[in-house]
Amino acid sequence: MSDVNRGRRQFIGWGAAALGGLTLAPGVMLFAPAQARAPEEAASSRVRWGLLIDTTQCDGCTACIEACRRENHVAAPSRKTDPQWIRKVELKDLRSGKTHSAPVMCQHCEHPPCVDVCPTGASFKRADGIVLVDRHICIGCRYCMMACPYKARSFVHEALTDQNPDVPRGKGCVESCTLCVHRVDRGRNPACVEACAAAGRNAIVFGDLNDPNSEIAKRVATYASTQIRADLGLNPGVRYQGI
């Protein structure tokens, strides 16, 4: 595609996003990713998708978790072998006693240890920063699960049926949050972000960290935010505000 064409597409995209923002129901603010690509266009390294999670807006609500399960057809867990793509970690500061509630999912690191250790290259990072598992060459060794500092990954311990056609998953492979890549590629927000907004909390913002005009980049530039285990230097795409 020519640059002119891409620019035109982007312009139309922004226009559509602005219109969308105006017509949305009051109280529900969706920050739709502006750069909805054409289907035949590849993900670009100019984009770095990320999440900003404001824990001050997050309480005992589990809308994000339920939305994730519905979207990706992940059953509610009942055993230790059941996969979990997103979980709420309840935190209590040992000295001050202050409590926080934080949704934790794959942090989509810039330098993901799971990608480093994967023997076959099944764990990979897309150009736009989304960390995924190529189940076609995953051999189920689980070394990525050993390497992940966030316990973000799960191994599928038994055969599955009724997958979402957009979200293939199956026995013997490792999986984790895909940042709803199938939605993002079509210009939609991840399911957890949408559900959090619908629940009236807007605690999770999704967007392009590389785009200075995006909501997420502006907020990261304005307010202090933290990364989990920042000491490891992995530069996760998921940031937290309020912890």
Partner: protein, 398 residues
């Protein structure tokens, strides 16, 4: 020195066939277990999304580490020029290959998708130490295979020293790779240490020598071959040094961790409050697998007895398995700390110690790795000339 002839064993006794049948049965049970795990998924094991690596890895890593150590005896002869070990070199090389084969079988059959072994052989991510290990394992088979050929075929004699040196260096790299599988896991308090690589090398020296001694004594006894005390005395001394060195490395590893305040929690767990892990560490790994063998090997009243040597070797093996359990399972049982200074709870078991109850299939799969290794040795010594005709003290003297 006079040549010591190597000869195939007779291998016609009821005892020999009984041994083959027993080992074969364990192997079949292991393969059946692997089939069950493949058919139903890992839900039939005790492993889960917290304890990711379980019993199969305990056995597999133990066998792979022991494999490189089993090559000791051959290395001492070829690389360090101690000719008195020369008649034992082929058995040493054979045992190394057999142990590695047994360990790898377990590792591969535990994969979520063992049917994709060919993927593991054709897709490589060279930043992964696991991918390097695939090369290191395959290379070990090739190099030790060539080394065996050089030792056992008269046309290969002039290559023995070079092949022996290559095999020696390769096994050092191989065990460095095995230790680094854990050492490179920066996120987990139990690992994240460069010390794991040299420590695994020292472990390998102890495990390999112990298994070699057990195999040699059993084979000579079963085949009715003479085995003099002089050679065993040397090996006894070596084993004692290796066991002591293992204990030293374990001590340095934990003392270092204790000094780093960040790791106090993990050390308190492992050394004091870890239940089964604490027991396995102090009682089995350090006590039964370390202190007891040292007493058996070094005490003047015991060290002349062959029974004491056999018992000490067996205890080193048991201690080694305990060590692997503590390292692999214990290291995962202690929770990852995501938010330092915070108490963590979640529906995904954050902030709590993870239990592990190994199931029968995974344990059986692990045990079958040992059976396969021994089966390979038992069959090979009948097919080819691995075992010396006699190793009496007078044999092969200058």
């Amino acid at each position: 020195m006079s040549a010591i002839a190597l000869r195939e064993i007779e291998g016609r006794s009821a005892g020999y066939y009984g041994l083959l049948a027993g080992l074969g049965l364990i192997m079949l049970l292991g393969l059946g277990s692997a089939y069950t795990m493949e058919e139903h998924g890992h839900v039939v094991t005790g492993m889960d999304n917290q304890i990711v690596w379980g019993m199969p890895h305990v056995f597999a890593v133990f066998l792979i580490v022991a494999a490189s150590g089993a090559l000791n005896v051959a290395s001492i002869a070829s690389v360090f020029g101690k000719t008195e070990y020369k008649p034992l070199s082929p058995l040493s090389g054979l045992l190394a290959l057999a142990l590695l084969a047994g360990g790898l079988m377990v590792l591969v059959l535990d994969l979520g998708r063992p049917d994709r072994l060919v993927v593991a052989m054709t897709h490589y991510n060279f930043k992964s130490i696991f991918a390097w290990n695939v090369f290191l394992y395959n290379g070990f088979f090739v190099i030790v295979g060539a080394y065996l050929w050089a030792m056992m075929d008269y046309t290969g004699t002039r290559y023995v020293r070079a092949a022996g040196m290559a095999a020696f260096l390769w096994r050092l790299i191989l065990t460095t790779g095995t230790g680094s599988i854990f050492g490179f896991l920066a996120a987990r308090q139990a690992y994240d240490s460069a010390l794991l690589a040299p420590m695994f090398i020292v472990f390998s020296l102890a495990y390999g020598t112990a298994i070699f001694l057990l195999t040699l004594i059993a084979a000579c006894r079963g085949a009715g071959r003479e085995l003099g005390d002089a050679l065993l005395k040397r090996l006894r001394g070596l084993l004692a040094v290796f066991v002591a060195a293992s204990l030293y490395f374990v001590a340095v590893f934990h003392v270092t961790n204790l000094y780093i305040t960040q790791h106090d929690g993990f050390e308190r767990f492992l050394l004091l409050e870890g239940g089964v892990h604490t027991f396995l560490f102090w009682t089995v790994q350090v006590g039964i697998g370390g202190a007891a063998p040292l007493v058996l090997l070094l005490h003047p009243a015991l060290n002349a007895r062959r029974g004491a040597l056999v018992l000490a070797s067996a205890l080193v093996v048991i201690g080694g398995l305990a060590q692997m359990y503590v390292t692999i399972i214990g290291g995962q049982a202690y929770p990852l700390v995501l938010f330092p200074g915070m108490q963590e709870t979640s529906g995904f078991y954050d902030g709590q110690v993870h239990g592990y109850a190994p199931s029968l299939p995974e344990t059986m799969l692990g045990l079958s790795g040992i059976a396969v290794a021994l089966l390979i040795v038992a069959v090979s010594v009948k097919m080819l000339r691995f075992l010396p005709e006699r190793l009496a003290d007078t044999a092969g003297e200058h």
